[in-house]
Amino acid sequence: MRFRWLGDAALTLDFPEPGLAPALAAAIDTLIAVGKLPGALECLAALRSVTLYFDPLASDPDSWRGTLSELAAHATRAPVRGRHWRIPVCCDSEFAPDLMTLAARRGMDADAFLAPLLATTVTVRMIGFLPGFAYMGAVPRRCQAPRLATPRTRVAAGSVAIAGPLCAIYPCTSPGGWNLIGRTPLALFDARRDEQPCLLAPGDQVAWQRVDRAEFDRLAATS
C-alpha cells in the first residue's frame, strides 16, 4: 500500500485491488470515531484509493503509517455488503439526447442498444463529483462510449448517463460530459436527510427497470 501526501492536510492511500476502498474507509471511520487517529477529520473512498483529511496542527500523520498499513492488510477482500435497488428509467428521446447517436454508431436502433445496458446489474464503486453522484459499473463492453468532446453546460437532475465502463445518475442539475440515455424520477440526494442524504452507497447493486413516460410522470409526481 502506498501513502501519498495531498498537500499538508490530507494523504491518499493506494492499493492495486479495486473494491477494497469502501471497506478500508469504513475501518478508518471507526478508528477516527474511537479517537485512534487524533486530528483526523474524515475520509473519502475513491475507486482504488482512500483519502484521509486531517487538521495539520492537531495530528501526527507519520505516526499513523503502521496502523493504516495493518488496517489495509487486514481489510477483507469481500466487498462491503450493499443494498439492492431497482431504479426506474425512462428512455424517451426527450430524456435521452445521446441515445440515437450511440445506437446509430453501432448500426442499431435505440431498443437494441438499450437492451444489454438495462439488463446489466451494476455496482456502486464510489460517490463523488456531485453530492450523491454514484459511479457505477461495469457497463457491458458493447455499450461503452467515450465522454462527449464538449461537455453540456446543463444536464437535468435524474439523467442516466454512461462514460467508458461506468454509468451514473446526475443527482442535481449541473454541467456534465457523459452520454445521456434516460432519466429517473427518483431523488438521488436529499440534503434534508442529515444522517444519510445519498440514496446509493458504495457496494450497492443497481438493476434498471425501464418505464414509459406515463409511469415516469406518475412516479415523478409521487416522489
Binding site: 501519498r4 498537500g7 499538508d8 460517490i127 453530492p131 443527482p171 440526494f189 440534503a191
Partner: protein
C-alpha cells in the same frame, strides 16, 4: 420580532458562508464554506460572534440591504466600504473594521471590494436554514442558491460593537508542496511552475481558479489518473497544460494529475485573486508549510489581542490607507 436584513439588490456572486461542511465528502459534498476563514473570523470578532458564524461573502459588486423588524449590527472586513442610509435621509460612509448599528428602515449599500473578497458580518451571525450542518451557499452542488432580491436574512440582536485595525494576510508567492502526481510531469514543467508568472483567466469561481501561462508538459504517464480524492489548494493540470487550482466548492474527487498543492496557510490568499491578476509560486517542504500555518495562527491571535475597542483610532486607520473619504466621521 427577529431582526433581519432584507436583500434589496443581491450584488454579484454574493452568498451566505460559514465554516463549511467538513465530514461530508463521502457523500460527494464539497467542504464549501468561507474561502477566507480568517477574514470571516475577523468580521465576526467585531460583533462578538463565534469565528465561523454565517456572514455574507462579497466577491464583486456588493449587495444593498435594509434592516427590518428590529435593530441589528453589521461589520465589514476586507478592503471595502459601505453607505449607511438612515431613515431620516442622512448618509454616512462606513469603513471596514468597524461594527455599526442599523435601525429598522435603515439601508446599507455595500460597495464593490477594491481588491479581493470581503465579508459582511451581522449580529448573532446570519440565521438562515442549515443544510447538512452548514448555512454555506453552494449552488454548484445543488445546495442553496445565490442571494436574490426579497430574501430575508434573520440576524441576532445587537451585541458587541467593536472596531479594529485591519487584518491582512502576508504577501509573497503562494507556497506549494509537490505532488501527489509529480511523476506525471516533466522535470522542466515542475521547475517552470515556480519560475514563471501565471495569470488568472476569466474562468474563476468558488470551485477553482483556471490559470494561464507557460504550458506544463506531462511525462509519459499523461494527464489522466484513476479518479481519487482532491482537496482545496490542489493544482490539477489537464491535457492542455494549463493549471487549475481547486477551491472550497470543487468536486470531491478528480481524474487529472495534480502537480502540487498550495499550503493551508496560503489557501485564504487564493480567494482574493481576480481574473487577470498574476500569481507566483514557490516550492516549500512539509515542515515549512506547518510553520507557516502556526505563524498565521499566531499573527491572527496577535491581531485579535490588539483589537481596539470603545475608541476610534482614525490616525491608525488612515495610516493603513483604508479610508479614502469619510466626510462625517464624527457621526459614527
Amino acid at each position: 420580532m427577529t431582526a433581519s436584513l432584507e436583500v434589496l439588490t443581491p450584488g454579484h456572486g454574493v452568498g451566505v458562508q460559514d465554516g463549511g461542511r467538513t465530514g461530508k465528502r463521502r457523500w460527494g459534498v464539497p467542504p464549501s464554506g468561507a474561502l477566507d476563514l480568517w477574514l470571516l473570523a475577523a468580521a465576526n470578532s467585531l460583533l462578538g460572534n463565534p469565528a465561523t458564524a454565517a456572514a455574507l461573502e462579497i466577491p464583486l459588486t456588493g449587495p444593498v440591504l435594509a434592516a427590518v423588524r428590529a435593530p441589528l449590527a453589521v461589520a465589514l472586513a476586507g478592503n471595502v466600504t459601505a453607505l449607511h442610509c438612515r431613515r431620516d435621509g442622512s448618509q454616512v460612509l462606513v469603513p471596514a473594521w468597524r461594527a455599526i448599528e442599523l435601525a429598522p428602515g435603515d439601508r446599507f449599500e455595500v460597495a464593490m471590494p477594491r481588491d479581493g473578497i470581503a465579508y459582511l458580518g451581522v449580529s448573532g451571525g446570519i440565521q438562515t436554514e442549515t443544510l447538512l450542518g452548514s448555512r454555506a451557499t453552494t449552488p454548484t452542488a445543488g445546495l442553496g442558491r445565490p442571494l436574490a432580491a426579497g430574501d430575508l436574512l434573520p440576524c441576532g440582536p445587537v451585541g458587541a460593537l467593536r472596531q479594529s485595525l485591519p487584518w491582512q494576510h502576508d504577501e509573497g508567492p503562494i507556497r506549494l508542496l509537490p505532488g501527489p502526481q509529480d511523476d506525471h510531469f516533466t522535470k522542466a514543467s515542475r521547475a517552470l511552475l515556480a519560475l514563471d508568472y501565471f495569470s488568472l483567466s476569466s474562468d474563476c469561481n468558488r470551485m477553482g481558479l483556471r490559470l494561464q501561462g507557460a504550458k506544463l508538459s506531462h511525462s509519459a504517464k499523461g494527464a489522466e489518473i484513476v479518479t481519487e480524492g482532491v482537496t482545496p489548494g490542489a493544482i490539477q493540470v489537464p491535457a492542455d497544460g494549463q493549471p487549475i487550482i481547486l477551491l472550497n466548492d470543487a468536486q470531491t474527487s478528480g481524474g487529472y494529475a495534480k502537480i502540487a498543492c498550495a499550503i493551508s496557510a496560503d489557501l485564504p490568499r487564493l480567494a482574493h485573486l481576480r481574473p487577470g491578476q498574476q500569481i507566483l509560486f514557490r516550492w516549500v517542504d512539509r515542515p515549512a508549510a506547518l510553520e507557516a500555518l502556526r505563524g498565521l495562527h499566531r499573527r491572527f491571535e496577535d491581531w485579535r489581542g490588539r483589537r481596539l475597542s470603545g475608541f476610534i483610532d482614525d490616525a491608525a486607520l488612515y495610516q493603513h490607507n483604508l479610508i479614502s473619504g469619510v466626510t462625517s466621521g464624527e457621526e459614527l
